[in-house]
Amino acid sequence: MDIIEAKEVSFEYVRRDEEGNVEGTTRAVDHVSLDIRQGEFIAILGHNGSGKSTLAKHMNAILCPTEGTVWVDGKDTRQESEIWNIRQSAGMVFQNPDNQIIGQVVEEDVGFGPENMGVPTEEIWERVEESLKAVGMYQYRKHSPNKLSGGQKQRVSIAGVLAMHPKCIVLDEPTAMLDPNGRREVIRAVRALNQVEGVTVILITHYMEEIIHADRVFVMDQGHIAMEGTPREIFSQVERLKALRLDVPQVTLLAYELQKSGIPLPDGILTREEFVEEVGKLLGK
């Protein structure tokens, strides 16, 4: 079943001058159609201003499409009466961890979503415990969020969404403000959610290394979906990615360059291990 379905979705930002008169519109998302099935790990890729964040905000009814329709779990996002059900089934994690943590103590923050939904007190505690355990932050439950590292804060944010028992989680560049260690922590937690808990994950990012575990990848450019496919299919088109101003992981680039100079390596090598293995095979011959 499709958890998220978008049909011919367009969104326009209205530009206004200083007096508030309409100057013109900017089309951030332009006739995008996609469908995401329950349990998938989806990555949406694109450079700044490609419309990926705007698209993400449609997935839990923060924005409503100017044209077209978005269905989340079978519900139309323009329906005012369904808005809270939609936000419950599609949780969202934002870029800046400081600006999305409301609680003064980790566990209070994780409990914020369930409190809003009117979950009974004992169940809130159960949910907080299981969500914090799922992201590996249970031992920090009594800490103040201000004393955590960026990666830890972002994991708390993920737990906060998880406690609402969503069917899918949309992560809008969750790692953009983190150091490499924090980035790894967060991605590991997200993958575990997808594989162990079976939560549908939609990861929006511009870091290529983060998408290699995705089931499907959408590459966005100027509001359109420019490419779609498995990570391997995407990464085998190095020239195309370069044209879209996206960086290819080092290993993939190295393999591509070697291939171009005549060494028979397969297309779309994603990880260092894979590369070592392939080169080993060649040398062993």
Binding site: G111, G113, P114, P120, T121, I124, G160
Partner: protein, 266 residues
């Protein structure tokens, strides 16, 4: 310099005082404050000081955290002392030019210092042992009846708790902007008052812009997590009086009785 503000800074440890219901602590602090102004005799103040010392001891918060909050109001205390010293009419002790220090003035000044000190430390004990969220929960519940008069109690409580959460973040940001401006030659420490105030403009403008941006982000994050006001909201930590809360009320009551007795008898 910016880190000296302890108000709203929770000191994390586990003690009986920490676990008390915030309503007890709020009510207790209020009663304690009133008790400080009830009578004017040294034994009563001694009792108040002893009571506070005992509470601090039980709370396991290091004493230096309480004193840190004092620094910010040192100026206020100095002004009060000066006014009381010179402007209280009575029996003259020392006369310099037109200023006279009276016996009553000295007495008043000393009492004022004691009162203010106990007052500030007393309220610091409350803020240091209660998470701001807990505190606003307590306020929300205590002021709950005002909802009938259409006072937006929940909204105000929510705003307070958000403001408190962002104080350390904005302080850190101020520090960062200050360093960035200093690296470009800004001077915050010299010059007269007006020059210094002017130097703060390049600090405040970016700070405000960033605060608005944060507010915008936070509002979106809250909505994404289904926040829609106080209606139909449940509590993760509902406030329920337990035995130790009743005992605490009794202790406060006992203290008040002693204080009144000390005031009347001595």
């Amino acid at each position: 310099m910016l880190r000296d503000i302890t108000l709203g800074q929770y000191y994390q440890t586990d003690s009986v005082i920490h676990r008390l219901d915030p309503r007890v602590k709020l009510g207790g602090t209020l009663l304690y404050m009133i008790s400080l102004f009830l009578f004017e005799n040294i034994w009563g103040h001694l009792l108040a000081a002893l009571f506070l010392a005992a509470v601090i001891r039980i709370s396991r918060v290091p004493f230096r955290f309480m004193v840190r909050g004092m620094k910010t109001i040192l100026f206020l205390i100095l002004i009060t002392v000066t006014f009381n010293l010179f402007l209280t009419p009575g029996e003259a002790l020392v006369t310099v030019w037109k200023l006279t220090i009276t016996r009553e003035g000295v007495r008043m000044a000393v009492f004022m210092v004691i009162r203010l000190t106990l007052l500030i430390i007393g309220s610091s004990v409350m803020t240091l042992t209660t998470t701001p969220n807990n505190l606003t929960d307590g306020l929300e519940k205590m002021l709950g009846p005002l909802k009938l008069l259409k006072v937006p109690v929940h909204e105000v409580a929510m705003m307070m708790s958000i403001a408190l959460r962002f104080i350390p973040i904005l302080l850190e940001e101020t520090d960062k902007i200050m360093k960035a401006q200093m690296a470009r030659g800004a001077d915050f420490d010299t010059g007269n008052l007006i020059q210094r105030a002017k130097a703060l403009v390049p600090l405040l403008v970016p700070l405000f812009i960033s605060a608005f941006r944060r507010a915008n982000d936070l509002a979106m994050a809250m909505e994404a997590r289904c926040y829609r006001g106080g209606e139909g909201r449940t509590k993760m930590k509902p406030l329920i009086y337990r035995r130790c809360d009743y005992i605490a009320y009794l202790v406060i009551l006992a203290y008040l009785v002693c204080k009144v007795l000390a005031g009347v008898l001595l």
